[in-house]
């Protein structure tokens, strides 16, 4: 029987290394410490394109963490939406395993997961970057935002792929992959090209 799996559903408590009942003061304290360390690390290394992308994403995650968790209402909504989504995934997986028609559940889950990732990954990260408190600590500006939009989209879709890996197959039947045969296929393609 499938068990709940929260991989891919971004957890800002984990990012800020906090317990889900952390107080706003603890959120701020953890955010400032982590951001300070990150800024110091950035200043100490040579910035390549790859590192820039990595650091921008780290900054954006911390900003979104503070933005969502320091206010009770926003935090509760985020945590509830996340839990609902995890429950919905579990419900769909169980229904699929039982062999029933899961088309409606699939559609409902798909709409929820897209909305969750859009709201709590891209939107929250960009909104966090415009927040006064975040700007003061992280020095996030318009140039960061311009660079970040592509990186955040990539991150969001990466999370979606991570979730997708464990979901029931819907658009296609579950493939029965023989990796020894796949290896032979790759070899035959390269042999064909090398001749």
């Amino acid at each position: 029987m499938p068990t709940p799996n929260d991989g891919g559903y971004v957890n800002y408590f984990e990012i800020l290394e906090l317990e889900p009942d952390a107080k706003p003061g603890e959120v701020r304290k953890s955010y400032r410490t982590k951001m300070k360390n990150l800024v110091a690390e950035i200043a100490a290394v040579e910035i390549t394109e790859e590192r820039r992308a990595k650091y921008l994403l780290e900054m954006a995650k911390l900003n979104a963490g503070l933005f969502l968790l320091r206010e009770t209402e926003l935090r509760d909504t985020y945590w509830r939406d996340r839990k609902e989504l995890i429950d919905l995934e579990l419900e769909w997986c169980r229904a699929a395993e039982a062999g029933g028609d899961t088309n409606e559940l699939r559609k409902s889950y798909d709409a929820h997961v897209r909305s969750f990732l859009s709201r709590y990954v891209e939107d929250a990260m960009l909104a966090g970057g415009r927040d006064k408190e975040c700007v003061e600590t992280s020095h996030w500006d318009a140039a960061h935002e311009r660079h970040a939009s592509r990186i955040l989209r990539h991150y969001r879709n990466g999370l979606y792929q991570q979730i997708l890996e464990r979901l029931p197959y819907a658009d296609v039947t579950k493939p029965n992959i023989d990796w020894t045969e796949r290896q032979k296929f790759a070899g035959s393609v390269l042999a064909q090209g090398a001749n």
Binding site: E49, E50, N103, R150, I151, R153, H154, N157, G158, Q161, L164, E165, Y169, A170, D171, V172, T173, K174, P175, N176, I177, W179, R182, Q183, F185, A186, G187, V189, L190, A191, Q192, G193, A194
Partner: protein, 367 residues
């Protein structure tokens, strides 16, 4: 029957199953994932509840011609479509009034045939749907690296091309898409900043740095290029030369034009030397001298590189077009301001093995 109602109901549609089978087999044999999916759409002529029919001439493109039907790959695909379990699934999905669930065994066959035919972006979509794209990429990378260990550069390059061809762009908007080779854009990014010194000029980079730039650009993926970092410079040189050849089968055409453009540059240089001597050794800028020597039309150089003149063409128009037709060409040119005009000119390091290895210069050429 005087007072009866007129029967206006259309006759129930009967789908010719033989045509459904053949059209599916055609898409499988041709690695055509677009039409494969089309055949399962709500409006598909293969669906009994759609008003579209295979017999309409507009759908003739979905059906195989006699030539294709005689090919072994089509017959194999036909056997795969007709396999009992697969065919039953297909019929069930086409009859159901909902989005179809594609049969995985045929999706794999479509993807594999697309790879065999070099349609990597199509294959990547099919593998992505099956959730095996990354692992297929890893398989091709692994076999390519083994080929490189065995000094089989041709096979290794082919493996890298397939593996990188299966890459996905998760940052694409609004949905992830297969990564496409947009040389015309990538070349502009390479030359986005005007070179202020020799180090800024890509063709004049040290061989080690140049190889890194060139492999990243031509493989479209810094991670794929990074896999080659540990190889010797000779191996990477041979890899680059083969990569250029496999990416661009018409590379020799560019080489001829490049040498011609280099000839023009050498003429200018000779005239500059002459002018310097005549002025009693007073040093003047290269750009100034080229401006004088090239006269009113410095576009002769980029036009030679491209093989045609673009009317009022800017440097970036020439760059985009040569990069589109010969991707690697962007690595051996640089921007140059001559008077009021900016053009692209051929450039290479005479002390670097790169231009010789890729065939741009004959082995006896000098700077």
């Amino acid at each position: 029957m005087f007072f009866g109602k007129k029967n206006t109901a259309a006759a129930p549609k009967i789908v010719n199953q033989e045509l459904t089978t053949k059209s599916l087999a055609k898409t499988v044999a041709e690695g055509d994932f677009v039409n494969f999916r089309l055949l399962f759409q709500a409006f598909s002529p293969a669906r009994p509840n759609s008003s579209e029919r295979f017999e309409d001439s507009k759908y003739s493109y979905l059906l195989p011609d006699a030539d294709l039907e005689s090919k072994p790959e089509f017959r194999t695909a036909l056997t795969q479509v007709r396999a009992d379990a697969t065919w039953q699934h297909i019929q069930r999905e086409l009859d159901a009034n909902r989005p179809a669930q594609l049969p995985a065994e045929l999706v794999i066959a479509v993807a594999d045939n697309a790879v065999r035919l070099g349609k990597y972006t199509i294959a990547s979509q099919a593998y992505e749907l099956l959730r095996i794209r990354r692992r297929m990429q890893d398989e091709f990378f692994a076999q390519a690296e083994k080929a490189l260990d065995d000094d089989n550069v041709r096979r290794a390059v082919h493996g890298y091309l397939v593996a990188t061809g299966l890459e996905y762009n998760y940052a694409a908007f609004p949905e992830p898409l297969p990564l496409v080779a947009d040389w015309q854009t990538k070349a502009l990014m390479l030359h986005g900043v005007y070179p202020q010194s020799a180090e800024d000029c890509i063709p004049l980079q040290q061989p080690e740095q140049f190889l890194r730039t060139a492999l990243t650009y031509l493989l479209l993926d810094p991670n794929a290029a990074a896999r080659l970092e540990s190889r010797s410079i000779q191996t990477r040189l041979a890899f680059l030369a083969e990569l250029i050849k496999q990416r661009d089968p018409n590379w020799r055409d560019f080489v001829h034009r490049y040498r011609e453009a280099c000839g023009l540059m050498r003429d200018f240089e000779a005239r500059i030397q002459h002018a310097i001597a005549e002025r009693g050794g007073a040093r003047v800028s290269l750009a100034r001298e080229i401006e004088e020597m090239a006269g009113e039309d410095p576009h002769k150089i980029p036009a030679t590189l491209l093989g045609r003149t673009i009317e009022n063409g800017e440097w970036w128009q020439y760059l985009k077009e040569i990069a589109y037709t010969h991707p690697a060409s962007a690595l051996f040119v640089s921007r140059q301001i001559i008077g009021e005009t900016e053009i692209i000119v051929p450039r290479y390091r005479g002390d670097s093995p790169v231009p010789f290895a890729v065939g741009l210069l004959p082995a006896t050429a000098t700077t």
